[in-house]
């Protein structure tokens, strides 16, 4: 009998505590920039697509909800021909962001993606691409990689020497 009364008392006491519940959607929660929500594809400082179609996000994905096809433009720069995320399967674990060697794929603090039709949760590249650099400003993969692409020849990346003249006999 006593324990029942005590329980009722404890529950009643909670009536006067500060509320944890937020009046969503009228009131929006304050999320950290590192929150793992809707996935985006970001762009280089020069505006080009950051994604080089390396497939690492797809292979890191534990629910296999990313699929893409890499292709190349006439200058040798790689980009995804299509890039599809099935958000109805995504578990927002962020492994894709971890795996991405070019900072292209990033998770954002947006979680308001509910749909009445599951088909609308399939996002294509056009839906994923944002116009900015996201959380990692300044990074440009091709400035680090050794591959020559249009506008960046061999030897013009960071920490690269001029291409070797193989006819030279100098030591």
């Amino acid at each position: 009998m006593f324990s029942v009364l005590r329980s009722i008392w404890i529950v009643l006491k909670h009536t006067f505590r500060k509320r944890e519940t937020v009046q969503y959607p009228e009131e929006k929660p304050d999320l950290s920039p590192r929150y793992r929500g809707r996935i985006v594809l970001s762009r280089d400082p020069d505006g080009g697509e950051r994604c080089v179609g390396c497939y690492l996000c797809a292979v890191a994905c534990p629910v296999d909800c990313i699929s893409l096809q890499a292709t190349e433009d006439e200058n040798g720069r790689r980009y995804p021909e299509f890039f599809r995320i099935n958000f109805s399967r995504c578990i927002y674990c962020g492994y894709c962001e971890d795996a991405c060697p070019t900072y292209a794929i990033q998770l954002t603090p947006d979680f308001e993606m509910a749909e009445y039709d599951r088909n609308n949760l399939v996002y294509e590249k056009e839906d994923l691409l944002i116009s900015g650099e996201g959380k990692y400003p300044g990074y440009h993969f091709y400035k680090v990689a050794g591959l020559a692409i249009g506008g960046k020849d061999k030897g013009e990346a960071q920490n690269e020497e001029e291409p070797v003249d193989i006819h030279s006999l100098m030591p």
């Binding site: 399967r89 061999k154 020497e161 070797v164 030591p171």
Partner: protein, 905 residues
């Protein structure tokens, strides 16, 4: 068997190996770069360092390179020793100094030996903060992509390309850390085996350019064990698919067939599978408009069943590029006496003769491995590089056997590659080439003889005569030809494993007969002689097992009998018969039913056209030139109506109700029905594990467990993830689910082992390095020689060739790129195919008053072609060569007499 101690544990290893080989054969991991199972050791990369101890007491030890140290009795080494592993880590660190940060955009990533070895050695953080050296790349043609920045200078590429494959146009340039591997200038790599650089290069310097056009990582490919269908050798391949298209062909190790390598036709000839000209739905010709109209599968099958109700009015024309099962289904439908092999009469006769020689004679039919192991070779008539490319590569290795034997006697182990090469220099074992014109093997030949086909056969008969009295005499042979025949006979007689190679490419019966005489006479001398006879297509030999008649005979039958319907199976007949005969045939036969996978002139003439599967989207069995039955498995299943030809025919047979085909729901049952009802197959033959085969009750997966994108790849079409397609024909699953250990040999869809993502993981699937796959090499030989049979020598020696006045004997010249029907339709290969030409020797050209750039008109069999000339120094007088299989030459029967004259344009 010596015992060696690795980290104090005793292991028995095979005699005469080096430590690296022994350690890898034992299944241990030890990093390496410059060593390759087929190229031997040079000790260049310093990666496979281990600590070797003097004896049990020795605690200090010394650093040695495992690949350069023999695994002799009592050798004590430590792989785990901190000094050794530190050394290996440092070596990798130095190699990585200039290696670019390219992995995300590098096609090798995910199957890179350098990545694997870096992880294995423990070097996981880059400290180098200074400038990296860079190189400019070269354009190496349509097959190979070049990215020199990634090079770690292991020298494997030039050792493979120059020393192993005999190529001349890839070399190391410059010095120290500037060393550069490439051509002297941009240009197509000349070797027909350049594609192997993709697998030989431990990193991404040489990558597959055809794969790059539709790039997919290794882990994303759904693959199946396959058999190359671009020549008669039956090399084992792995076909990899993604998003419904075939992405690439990789080598599948099989020690008794192709070993570690493939030719460029086999590797890059796959793209016809993705061609726009693929037939995807059943169509029927509208009677009035003569246009194709789509029909349902059931309607098409029912219509064919109706047409074939009267058995006597149907003929079936099979195909040497279709599987045994499909051909057998057709044979069952039309009856064995109305079934044609789909090869010309001449070809059918030659292939049957080949099988008879291999089957009834005492000489063993040589596998590619046997060719590689032979130590004296006589080639009669075959330009191997173009007709059976991998055999040419095997012959290149065979000529090293006698000199290497000398090196062994000098105490140098065979694996010590540099030392062996230093000792033998340019010395070559005996290789006698008798071919109509010069070939790419001439540079390693002891002697070459270029003559007209019948003269080559006479040469062969002469060699046989020197070896056995009973073999017929050749009268009126030139002295120098006679002396060459004598020296060839002596070389073969003195060899341990003599080999005779001939084949069907010149369409000359006497040549094959003379080759048989040589091999049999060697057997009569007590030699274990081998004979290798090349056949034109992937299943030519299989056709001889099914005993169909030639096309011309089938056409005659269509003309004389009351034939109303012809069923043509995966065969473009316009490539095989001349247009006159073809048009006559079309007039004679009311209904043409064609089952094929690519549109061609024959499918255009069809009244009913059914879509068949290619090697990549169907299963089946092929018999190669050696008589080895091998199974290829379906790599992918798509939503179209494409299915195996035998499945279409099963539907027709089922409606016809004459034969009980109710159990033909799986390939195994069709195959066993065939072995039971066709006499040439003796009894139960097991080519591959049957569809019920399971390991731990699980199927064998077609994809690695890292296969990605499963729930997204079709989400744009349908959000629901469907059950993967079922496969009634094989124990393989269309998924990454299933038994996760190593696949059994013959069911290997991909080579992978923990820590070994590159093709080097193949070593983990073998009993020993360079040996058989665990569980035996897949495939089964259906032809075994009668060792004790006394040879029945062929006695018809042909007359010598005499040039005719005003007429020229035109002989077929084969091209690795372009002569074969399917591969020629592939994007990369089509760029390497030659333009049509006519070849003749310079003196004939001069007589006709022709210049280098002249065009001539060739009158052949009622048709006239205007072609540019190509001068072949060694082509005999009175003979011209015409390229085979190029569009302009379809259906022209060769060899044939033709007239040529300077073109009047």
């Amino acid at each position: 068997m010596p015992t060696i101690y690795i980290d104090d544990n005793p292991y028995e290893v095979k005699e005469g190996k080096n430590l690296l080989d022994a350690v890898l054969s034992l299944g241990e991991d030890l990093p390496y770069f410059c060593w390759h199972p087929d190229l031997g050791s040079v000790g260049a990369c310093r990666q496979c360092a281990v600590i070797q101890f003097q004896d049990e007491e020795d605690e200090q030890g010394r650093l040695v390179m495992a690949c350069m140290t023999p695994a002799s009795e009592g050798t004590r080494i430590s792989i785990q020793h901190p000094d050794a592993s530190q050394f290996r880590e440092n070596v990798i660190e130095w190699l990585m100094v200039n290696h670019p940060h390219d992995c995300p955009v590098c096609d090798e990533g995910g199957e890179c030996h350098l990545q694997d070895m870096t992880v294995m050695s423990g070097h996981n953080y880059r400290d180098f903060r200074f400038k990296k050296r860079t190189h400019r790349n070269q354009d190496l043609g349509p097959f190979i992509n070049h990215e020199m920045n990634r090079c770690i200078a292991c020298y494997r590429c030039v050792r493979y390309y120059r020393d192993y494959a005999g190529g001349g146009d890839l070399q190391a340039f410059a010095a120290h850390d500037h060393v550069y591997f490439g051509r002297h200038e941009d240009g197509v790599l000349e070797s027909e085996f350049s594609g192997n650089l993709v697998e030989v290069c431990p990193t991404g310097v040489f990558t597959d350019k055809t794969l790059k056009r539709h790039y997919t990582r290794k882990w994303d490919l759904q693959s199946a064990p396959s058999i190359c269908n671009h020549c008669g050798l039956g090399c084992n391949t792995i076909a990899g698919e993604r998003y419904g298209t075939l992405r690439r062909i990789l080598n599948r190790y099989n020690s008794s067939v192709n070993g570690s390598f493939l030719c460029d036709r086999g590797r890059f000839g796959y793209e016809f599978v993705n061609d726009d000209a693929r037939i995807l739905t059943p169509v029927m010709k509208n009677v009035e408009t003569r246009q194709f109209e789509e029909v349902s599968e059931d309607d098409a099958v029912a219509k064919i069943a109706e047409l074939t109700r009267d058995k006597n009015s149907v003929i079936g024309i099979g195909s040497p590029r279709a599987s045994l099962e499909s051909n057998f289904a057709l044979r069952t439908l039309v009856g064995s006496n109305r079934y044609s092999s789909g090869m010309s009469n001449a070809e059918t006769e030659l292939v049957n003769l080949s099988r008879q020689i291999l089957n009834d004679g005492p000489a063993h039919s040589a596998s590619l491995k046997d060719v590689e192991k032979s130590d004296a070779v006589l080639v009669l008539g075959e330009d191997l590089t173009n007709t059976a490319p991998m055999m040419a590569l095997a012959v290149r290795q065979a000529v090293r056997n006698q000199p290497v034997e000398k090196a062994k006697q000098a105490g140098i182990p065979e694996w010590n590659d540099n030392a062996v090469r230093e000792l033998i220099q340019d010395e070559k074992g005996p290789l006698y080439l008798a071919t109509p014109t010069n070939t790419k093997l001439d540079d390693v030949a002891t002697k070459t003889y270029n003559a007209a086909p019948q003269d080559l056969a006479r040469f062969g008969f002469a060699v046989a005569q020197f070896l056995a009295e009973e073999s017929p005499k050749v009268i009126g042979l030139d002295e120098d030809v006679k002396s060459m025949a004598k020296s060839a006979a002596d070389a073969l007689k003195n060899a341990k494993r003599p080999l005779v190679i001939s084949g069907t490419s010149l369409l000359n019966k006497s040549l094959i007969q003379s080759a048989a005489n040589v091999a049999w006479s060697l057997c009569a001398n007590g030699k274990k002689a081998e004979i290798a006879l090349t056949v034109p297509e992937a299943n030519s030999m299989g056709m001889s097992f099914l005993e169909g008649q030639g096309i011309e005979s089938a056409f005659e039958r269509a003309a004389s009998d009351d034939i109303k319907t012809a069923i043509i199976l995966e065969n473009d007949l316009t490539r095989r018969v001349d247009s006159k005969a073809w048009n006559q045939f079309l007039k004679n036969v009311e209904n043409i039913v064609v089952i094929d996978h690519l549109e061609n002139e024959t499918t255009a003439a069809a009244d009913i056209l059914l879509p068949a599967g290619t090697f990549a989207d169907s299963d089946g069995t092929l018999i190669n030139n050696e008589g080895r039955a091998q199974r290829f498995f379906q790599a992918f299943e798509d939503d179209s109506a494409v299915q195996e030809s035998w499945r279409w025919l099963q539907g027709v047979l089922d409606l016809g109700k004459d034969t009980d085909v109710s159990d033909w729901y799986s390939l195994d049952n069709v195959f066993s029905a065939m072995t039971k009802s066709v006499d040439t197959f003796k009894g139960d033959i097991v080519v591959a594990p049957d569809a019920k085969f399971r390991i731990n009750d699980q199927k064998i997966p077609r994809s690695p467990y890292r296969y990605s994108g499963r729930t997204a790849m079709k989400a744009n079409v349908d959000i629901h993830v469907h059950k993967p397609p079922q496969d009634p024909d094989s124990p393989l699953s269309f998924s990454m689910e299933g038994y996760s250990g190593k696949q059994p040999s013959g069911l290997t869809s991909f080579f992978w082992s923990p820590g070994w993502n590159s093709v080097q993981s193949t070593n983990k699937y073998k009993n020993e390095v360079g040996g058989e796959l665990r569980g035996g090499d897949p495939g089964i030989r259906l032809i075994e020689p009668k060792r004790n049979a006394s040879p029945k020598y062929f006695t018809e020696v042909p007359e010598p060739f005499s040039p005719r006045e005003g007429e020229w004997l035109s002989i077929p010249l084969h091209h690795i790129f372009g002569s074969e029907e399917l591969s020629a339709k592939s994007f990369g290969l089509s760029k390497r195919a030659p333009e049509p030409y006519v070849a003749l020797n310079p003196s004939s050209a001069e007589k006709l008053g022709l210049q280098m750039e002249s065009r001539v008109s060739v009158k052949l069999d009622g048709t006239e072609h205007t072609l540019p000339i190509t001068l072949h120094e060694n082509l005999p007088d009175g003979v011209i060569g015409l390229p085979v299989g190029l569009p302009d030459f379809n259906g022209i029967p060769l060899p044939n007499w033709s007239k040529i004259s300077g073109a009047t344009e």
